[in-house]
């Protein structure tokens, strides 16, 4: 029996469970906010074309609009200036095998609840590895913060007069994951792969800077990470094939043993 037929058999017999890591795309879901003088990404918006009515008697459909970085979405390396000159870094040119990969889920939910500005450190990663083994190369590293359980947009965005306060990795953790663990990418539950206050890190937005600078990917606004095992889940995260796209909303799924 070949590998795919074993998979089909395992899937058919219910040995594999699918976990949806995707937030519902809706106008209410928060979106990234930049200073108002800068260009702004479109939030998700939807307009009805017809609904079995005079605009189209037998069919219902909508037009929707949004930016490439809306809802649960994929960041391609070309998104960041550090990744702009690398080969195969846009949504249409990334080799498709990169869209499937194993996941290591680092549970930072307790730390993030205690401190919304929590930064994931190398020390935290090494402690995790002592328990679950070394992060294998070409893995997604997913930072579980339970941020997706903040259903109130105000709580989710968590702004005050100094900006956003959400957890993320620190500079050294990102460098370590890229250089020492050769990860596929980094994923979070909050609005960005970087912490809310990451503009004040050196360099600003280290996860974007170093991950994309090394041709790695990002996933953000993930949900249901609490349903994944620390290791052993397979993530399927394929962005839309937008020509020269910097990212795209997507349906992120994880396959886990049931």
């Amino acid at each position: 029996m070949n590998a795919v037929s074993s998979f089909i058999e395992a899937f058919a017999s219910g040995k594999i469970r699918v976990v949806d890591l995707t937030q519902t795309l809706s106008p209410e879901f928060p979106y990234i906010a930049l200073p108002p003088e800068m260009g702004q990404a479109w939030p998700f918006r939807i307009e009805e074309v017809s609904r079995y009515d005079e605009r189209g008697p037998a069919w219902y459909w909508n037009n929707f609009s949004c930016g490439e970085h809306t809802g649960t979405h994929f960041d391609a390396p070309i998104h960041w200036v550090s990744g702009k000159d690398l080969p195969n870094t846009a949504t249409d040119s990334i080799p498709p095998e990169r869209f499937i990969g194993p996941a290591c889920v680092l549970d930072c939910s307790r730390e993030s609840a205690a401190d919304p500005d929590f930064l994931l450190t190398v020390e935290f990663i090494k402690t995790w590895e002592k328990q679950h083994g070394q992060i294998p190369a070409k893995s997604w590293v997913l930072m579980r913060t339970d941020w997706s359980k903040r259903h109130d947009p105000v709580e989710y965005q968590n702004y005050d007069e100094t900006g956003q306060h959400t957890p993320g990795p620190d500079v050294d953790a990102v460098k370590f994951l890229v250089a020492e663990r050769d990860v596929l990418g980094f994923g979070t539950e909050s609005i960005g792969t970087d912490a809310g206050q990451a503009y004040h890190l050196r360099p600003p937005y280290p996860c974007h800077y170093f991950m994309h600078g090394a041709g790695r990917y990002g996933l953000q606004c993930l949900t249901n990470l609490d349903q994944l095992p620390p290791t052993g889940a397979m993530v399927v995260a394929a962005p839309l094939k937008i020509r020269n796209g910097s990212g795209s909303p997507l349906r992120a799924l994880a396959l886990v043993s049931s």
Partner: protein, 414 residues
């Protein structure tokens, strides 16, 4: 003396809501000159350029010397009430429902004799009066004789209230409470004794200056409202649309760009999405409910206010895409006015010059203060004015635009 109106009793929900009717609306093209002035709160009559006589009703030629050299001149309205009568019967649907109705015959100081609606505080003839041109529910100018001096609760006169959009005891939606203008509007409208105010705020996770102050006002209810989100507008209208008596659309998106100094269309599109499509979304969702309540008692649905810009008249190239979005909004507001008129709901368009806010930071004064803009809106509602050009810059631009639109185009491009 006018009895001060008291807070209307709660509506009896088992009774049918009275449908709006309108007073007679037909006017000749010449007579619309009276309406054009009244729309801005002025009383103008034709004066003859040959013999100097002032005439009423408006005609194609001078009634004294047949000259056609007539021009519209502002009138003080001073006059003397010669006789008054009270109407107890009418076959006109609008007046039939509002009887008794007081009418007067006034000799204006400038000459003509006019029939007017008569304020309750004007004593029996002979009496000094001040005649004003007001828009009625059909949107046409009529003459109203007011007491020559202010009387207590004068605005509460039952007949006068049919011509105004007084916020007193009315429920108001201000679509954007995040701006200084929005906050001044909320406070101004409450000072004018509005019953309550719903205050919209988009992107509720972005804390804004003045939020705490708004939140503690007991008559204020904050509602998430983003005019770019059709579902949001629809759901808010479903929730409160049937209670909004005055809608003030002050939401705007403003960036200071022309064509050449900003790449791409994203900023311009965002301006159109709020300034033009936002108005369209609001009008589609709130319009029908307001139209159905145009005659709903003492606190009926009565007015829709749009914060436009003097740049809607002529493009200000350094704020070129913003100007274009406001011109589009003005055109749509004219459509809305036509659609709201059958219900007697007035569409008030406000055309300020530059507002003293962060998006006009680099423009030199004079810039209109948010407070002055809010005062102008409240005054327009109280006086029943339809086109408002608040502040010196707006007035000057209006004057120059009227005089020679092409000259203004060149001047603004300089």
């Amino acid at each position: 003396m006018t009895q001060e109106i008291s807070r209307p009793r709660k509506k009896n929900p088992v009774l049918r809501t009275r449908l709006p009717t309108l007073p007679p609306a037909a006017r000749s093209r010449i007579a619309l000159g009276l309406t054009a002035a009244a729309a801005q709160g002025r009383f103008e009559l034709q004066q003859c350029g040959e013999c100097g006589s002032v005439q009423y009703p408006p005609r194609e030629a001078c009634q004294s010397c047949l000259s056609t050299r007539l021009s519209w001149k502002e009138q003080s309205g001073e006059g003397e009430l010669l006789a008054s009568t009270v109407l107890h019967h009418s076959n006109d649907l609008f007046f039939r429902e509002r009887l008794p109705w007081r009418l007067g015959l006034v000799r204006l100081g400038s000459g003509p004799m006019v029939v007017t609606h008569l304020h309750g505080d004007v004593p029996a003839a002979p009496a000094k009066v001040r005649v004003a041109a007001r828009l009625d529910r059909a949107g046409q100018a009529v003459l109203v004789a007011l007491p020559d001096k202010e009387t207590p609760h004068m605005a509460d006169d039952r007949q006068l209230r049919e011509f105004t959009c007084d916020p007193k005891f009315r429920k108001v939606l201000v679509t954007d409470g995040k701006t200084a203008v929005g906050q001044a509007l909320v406070k101004g409208i409450l000072k004018a004794e509005a019953d309550l105010v719903w205050v919209g705020h988009a992107e509720p996770w972005k804390k804004f200056t003045g939020l705490d102050e708004l939140q503690i006002i007991p008559q204020v209810t904050l509602v998430p409202l983003d005019l770019t989100d059709s579902k949001n507008v629809r759901e808010l209208a479903a929730e409160i649309g049937g209670k909004v008596d005055i809608l003030i659309n002050n939401s705007e998106y403003h960036r200071a760009f022309g064509i050449a100094n900003r790449q791409g269309v994203e900023t311009a599109r965002a301006e159109m999405d709020v300034n033009y499509f936002g108005l369209l979304r609001l009008a589609q969702e709130f319009g029908p409910a307001m139209r159905s309540r145009g005659a709903d008692g003492l606190a009926s649905a009565v007015a829709w206010v749009n914060l436009l810009s003097i740049y809607a008249l002529a493009n200000f190239p350094s704020h070129g895409t913003f100007s274009a979005s406001k011109a589009a909004a003005q055109s749509l507001a004219q459509c809305l006015r036509a659609e709201m008129r059958p219900a007697g709901v007035r569409v008030v368009n406000v055309f300020p010059g530059p507002i003293d806010d962060e998006w006009n930071q680099l423009l030199p004064p004079p810039k209109i203060a948010p407070q002055s803009l809010a005062n102008a809106v409240v005054k327009a509602l109280r006086d029943g004015i339809e086109d408002v050009y608040p502040g010196d810059v707006a007035q000057e631009w209006l004057e120059r635009w009227r005089d020679n639109p092409k000259a203004l185009e060149r001047e603004l491009a300089a």
